[in-house]
Each structure stands twice: as C-alpha cells, then as structure tokens.
Symmetry: C2
Subunit: 190 residues, 2 copies
DNA sequence: TGCAGCCGAATGAACATTCAATAGACAGAA
DNA sequence: TTCTGTCTATTGAATGTTCATTCGGCTGCA
C-alpha cells in the first residue's frame, strides 16, 4: 500500500466532506479544489475525471472498512464475542467517520456504483459473509443464508450510526448494548 | 386528497424512474419532460422549480407508505400477527415500487432532505414508533426505545428489499419467513 | 373573445475539463 | 560551485457543454 501523495489525500478528504454535506450533485470540482487548498487543475493531475475521483475514493475508503472486519474476525475469542466485537468495530469506525458512511450510502444507491451485481466478489462482503458462514457451521447461528445475515447485520450497524449521527435521537448507554443484542438474539440458534 | 392531474402524475413517475436509474444528478429536467411525454415548460406549469418537484414528489410518495402502516396497525389481530403483517406490508409495497424505495433512500441522505432533524414529527415515523410503543406497553417486546426498534425494523425491511431488488442474491421462499422472524426473535420479550 | 394548458426554442448560469504558463526539483556538465 | 536543461507539480483563466428556467406563442374550450 503506497503512501498517498499529500494533495491527493487532501482532495479525498475534501470530496468526502462535500459529498456528505451536499451530495454528489452540489459538489462541483471547483469547490473540491478550494476546500482541499489546491487549484482546479491540480485535481486533474491526479485524476482523469470526476468519475474517476469518486471511484478511487470509494476504493480508498473500502480498504479501511475491510481492515476493521479482518481485525475482529481473525481472533480466537469465542464466536459470540467476535460477533459483538465486529458489531462494535464497525459501529465505531462509522461513528468516527460519519462522512465515510454518508459517502458509502450515497455511492451505493447511485449510478456511480458500477459493482451493483457483483456483491459476492466485493472483498468486504466476502469477509463479512465468511464470518456468518463460520457461525452457522459452528452451530452458533440459525440456518439462514449467511449472505442474508451479513447484509442484515451490516444494515443494522448503519441504521444505528445514522440514528446517532443525525442527532434526532440520543442513544443511551444501555441502548448501545441492546441493539447488537437484538441482532444476536434474532440470529442465534434458539 | 384531490386527484392529481394526469400530466402531473406522469411527471412524478418519470422523475421516480430517472432518479432510480441515474440519481438526482444525472436527472435533468429535459429528460424528465421527455419521458413524461410533456414539454420542458409544462413541468414549470405545475412546479416552481426542480427543488419543489422533488419535495412534492417526496410528500406524494410518503402518503402511500403511511397508508400501508395504517392498514396493518389498526386491526384487532394479536400483536405478533400485526408485527408480521406490518413487515410484509412494507416489504411488498417497497418490493412492487422499487423506484419509490430508491428515491426514498437517495432523498433521505441528500441535501434535498430538509426534515433531517424532525424525525419525531414525520407522520410515517410517528405511526411506526407508536406501533412499537404499543408492543412494549402490552408486554410483547423488550424494554428498548420504540424509536430504536422502529428504525431498526424499517431498515431491516429496506435491506431485504434491496437484496432482492439488486438481484445479487435470490431469496428463497423460506428466507422471506426467516427474515422477519430474526427481527421478531430479537425484539420480543424473552 | 378570453383563458388555461401546453409547447419548445432561447437564455444565462454553473460546471467539468483543458491548457499555456510558471515554479520548483534534480541531474549532469563546466 | 554554478549553470543548463529536463522533468514534474501546480496554477487559474478560458472553453465548451449541460442544464434549469423563461417566455412568446399556439391550441382548443367556454
């Protein structure tokens, strides 16, 4: 993983913030440039087009999320423990990187997302699904498609962060334990 | 509820399709007009601006979803039954109106959404939360904030439809029973 | 005759992208 | 050390395109 040139990173961060604030539309290259502290032309030194900037940014971000999953999956703790750690791992990552989350969400439901039909090939989801597959194989979870459980679990984390981030509703200490608990109780073998 | 002029409806439908296909950006008024079979100017006979078109469309759609909740909530069936009916009601509505779902999702995480901080005042969510409040009061559900459970339940339905709609993964007969089951098992009083 | 509904070419603004010009970094030659 | 040439990185004004919105005029109905 080569280190990313300073300006390139600044452009990424600027894009991330702006997309969160204003969406893909409403994020002109001129503003991206200004907020990154570079000239408009500089962006085109690093990226061929807006399209490519967005695509590369998506890959850049995804690598970070993948690391979270890998960190929590590959331990020898009891499965149940891993389950909660994974949930909290993703939760905290998204919580502290709210603009990543928003970018992700907007990206996935946008025409920029050209991977729509290759869910199985996406490394993030491969890892995630693998984790649930293991849970079923080891007899901890219900006999439900791991792809389904993985997707539901992920959407559960995201919904939680969104509740939190929007500030529409403040989660109490206890709630943060109850939510993954609900998920676990629903998915575990009864 | 006054009947909506034919052309107005055509404009709504056209916008819905295009936003699903191309996102808010990538949906120029000229295309909206063409697909609706009207002239560009006609849109401005009905709506003051693109902004207002999107906002009105959001309201128009929301009323339909609200009806689904009302239909399933206000029966005298046992609570557990209502729970599943509500899940399936929303599921089927979104399933048969995939472009509504995509529009919703994009709208919510976009700058068009000016209601971000008034979740409690949104009628759809008021109804939804009310349903879970009842479940707790009647002793069917865990003692967790109804707002949280409502939000999680809704995101669960949406995740399911998105799995289905994307065609990335085909849900079996049985899966469609397992998914709300997971939710119920997680939220019900143990 | 008047009017609402509708049309689509014309307008101007916003935007992505280009490019000619400048600055700096570095290597080799004198 | 200094000079020279050749890179790459950077700039921001200029360009051409796309788009939201406007408006003068047409149509058919009362």
């Amino acid at each position: 993983m080569e280190p990313i040139a300073d300006k390139k990173k600044a452009i990424f961060e600027s894009t991330l913030e702006l997309v969160k604030e204003k969406g893909f539309h409403g994020t002109p290259m001129s503003l991206v440039a200004k907020r990154a502290g570079v000239a408009a032309g500089t962006i085109y030194h690093y990226f061929e087009s807006k399209e490519e900037l967005i695509q590369e940014l998506y890959q850049y971000i995804k690598r970070q999320v993948i690391e979270v999953v890998q960190r929590e999956d590959a331990t020898d703790k009891p499965y149940r423990q891993c389950f909660f750690n994974l949930w909290y791992g993703l939760y905290h990552y998204y919580r502290h990187n709210a603009n990543v989350l928003m970018f992700f969400e907007q990206f996935v439901t946008s025409p920029y997302n050209i991977y729509k039909d290759e869910l199985g090939k996406d490394e993030f989801f491969r890892l995630l699904f693998g984790f649930f597959e293991r849970g079923i194989a080891e007899g901890h979870l219900k006999q439900v498609s791991p792809k389904i459980m993985g997707t539901l679990a992920h959407s559960n984390v995201i919904a939680t962060v969104k509740i939190q981030a929007s500030g529409r509703l403040d989660l109490q200490e206890g709630d943060l334990e109850e939510i993954p608990r609900i998920l676990w109780d629903g998915m575990r073998k009864q």
